[in-house]
Amino acid sequence: MVFYSFFIPYFCGRISKTIKLTEKRSANPTDFKTFRLVLAALFAVLFNLNSHSLHASGGEGSFNAGEMIMHHISDAHEIHIIGDVAIYLPVIIKTEEGWDVFSSSHFYHNEKHLDSASGGVHYYEHDNYLLFHEHIYLKEDGLVLNEAGEPVNQAVALDMSITKNVAGIFLTIILMLIIFMSIAKAYKTRGMVAPKGLQGFMEPLILFVRDEVARPSIGKGADRFVPFLLTIFFFIWISNLLGLIPFLGGLNITGTMSVTLVLATLVFIITTINGKKDYWVHILWPPNVPWPIKLILVPIEIAGLFIKPAVLMVRLTANITAGHIIILAFVALIFIFGEQSAGAGYGVGIGSTLFMIFMNFIELLVAFLQAYVFTLLAALYFGAAIEEAHH
């Protein structure tokens, strides 16, 4: 419970900074002042105005819930911990002149402002580069926006930066290596005795993947795929859990399409290279089906080859991102009502906090469930690929 309650000051911290900025232009600053005091008393956390958090609100006049939420679930070039504390990650970019590597602190400590037709926007500048909405562009003559509010500056050829999510992936992988190498060592040194400690915690999960996911779905020859399925299961599960840990920059690893795209592509590749003759026959020329129906069926089956992994990808991204959005929406609710009056913000705050705690429990379940679903479906696809004819 304590663990989850950490969430609230974290998110509120980000937003209260936003509000501090907006209150300067607000017609009724006293209301905001009161509200901020209430917040401070409620969470007992001190927040300072942090210049580079301004982009959360887009520098507009009032609190923008949609923009705040999108900012939090998007990737970033820093891991924002709390207040002024952030871990600045390395920026690795390739331009026509070659590779360039520097710390993202250069960006975040050099904020610029641009007044455009649709209101003020802010961006960061370093050397010959611009960071606008976490995308890196060539500086040229400074940021120039078109009518739709998109930059006309040329983007860098390749952004290989260690972003928030990439760092999250590395953290997941380090955790996995530490956990499972130590377990493997425990199995070797302790010999044939009942598992205990971390080993005892992980063994039922390993057996769950092997006995409840891989073997029933794949059938004969399942053990060949178990190492991959175990890796993908624990990768997704641990990534999901990292996303629920507060003060870790609100990682949204498995809620990022780039990550799930890779996982789904690997599933697609393994399915395709393991496909036996029967698998391809069923797709390209289904037996015992009249030929006019074949004409309809075959294109559907071929499309299915690609739709299946695409569905895996979208389901995982959507589920994890949706969880983050719901929690952030409850936070946003407090500030939307807080803009009206302090009392409303205070009242809604209590209700929202309770809902957030509830949602975090749901998300804990979803973290496991989505890892399970992804692994199960991957196993089913492998099973279909290696299935022998039985008719």
Binding site: M70, I173, A184, P227, F228, S258
Partner: protein, 162 residues
């Protein structure tokens, strides 16, 4: 979130493939092997236990059979012993009776012989006694002349009569 960043894709691919390779080689293989070995050993232990149980059952059955046999043998032995005892007793009884009868017969015989001998002796004794008496009486009677004459005459008379 929904836009795909090439950098993230490349990093994810590298990182995930590395972790798949490392874990498959250094974690999953030893872990799954250990689990399989343990499962096999448990299965074997259970099988052995089942076998031992079967053996125990057989052993118990054998014991029961042996016990039954022993009991029967004992009963038989006791029965034959009882028979032998009864036979011996009756035999002894018969023999004793026979012996007794023989002894009684012998005794009776002896008694009869003794009796006959005693009778004979008694007869001789009586005869001798009678003779002695008769002698004495005769001597007395023949002591005076008259008497002797009388007797001779009487005897002669008697002899004449004969």
């Amino acid at each position: 979130m929904l836009s795909v960043s090439i950098g993230t894709v490349i990093w994810t691919t590298i990182a995930f493939l590395v972790v798949v390779f490392l874990l498959a080689k250094f974690a999953w293989k030893p872990i799954l092997n250990s689990i399989r070995e343990r499962e096999e050993s448990i299965e074997k232990a259970l099988e052995d236990a089942e076998k031992a149980k079967e053996m125990m059952r057989e052993l118990k059955e054998n014991n029961e059979k042996l016990l039954q046999e022993a009991r029967m043998e004992r009963d038989e032995l006791m029965k034959s012993a009882r028979d032998a005892k009864d036979k011996m007793i009756s035999e002894a009884k018969d023999k004793a009776k026979e012996e007794g009868d023989k002894m009684i017969t012998n005794a009776k015989e002896t008694i009869r012989a003794e009796k006959a001998a005693a009778m004979n002796e008694l007869k001789n004794l009586v005869a001798e006694l009678s003779l002695n008496i008769a002698e004495k009486i005769i001597r007395e009677k023949l002591a005076n002349e008259g008497k002797q004459k009388e007797i001779i005459e009487n005897t002669l008379k008697e002899a004449k009569l004969n």
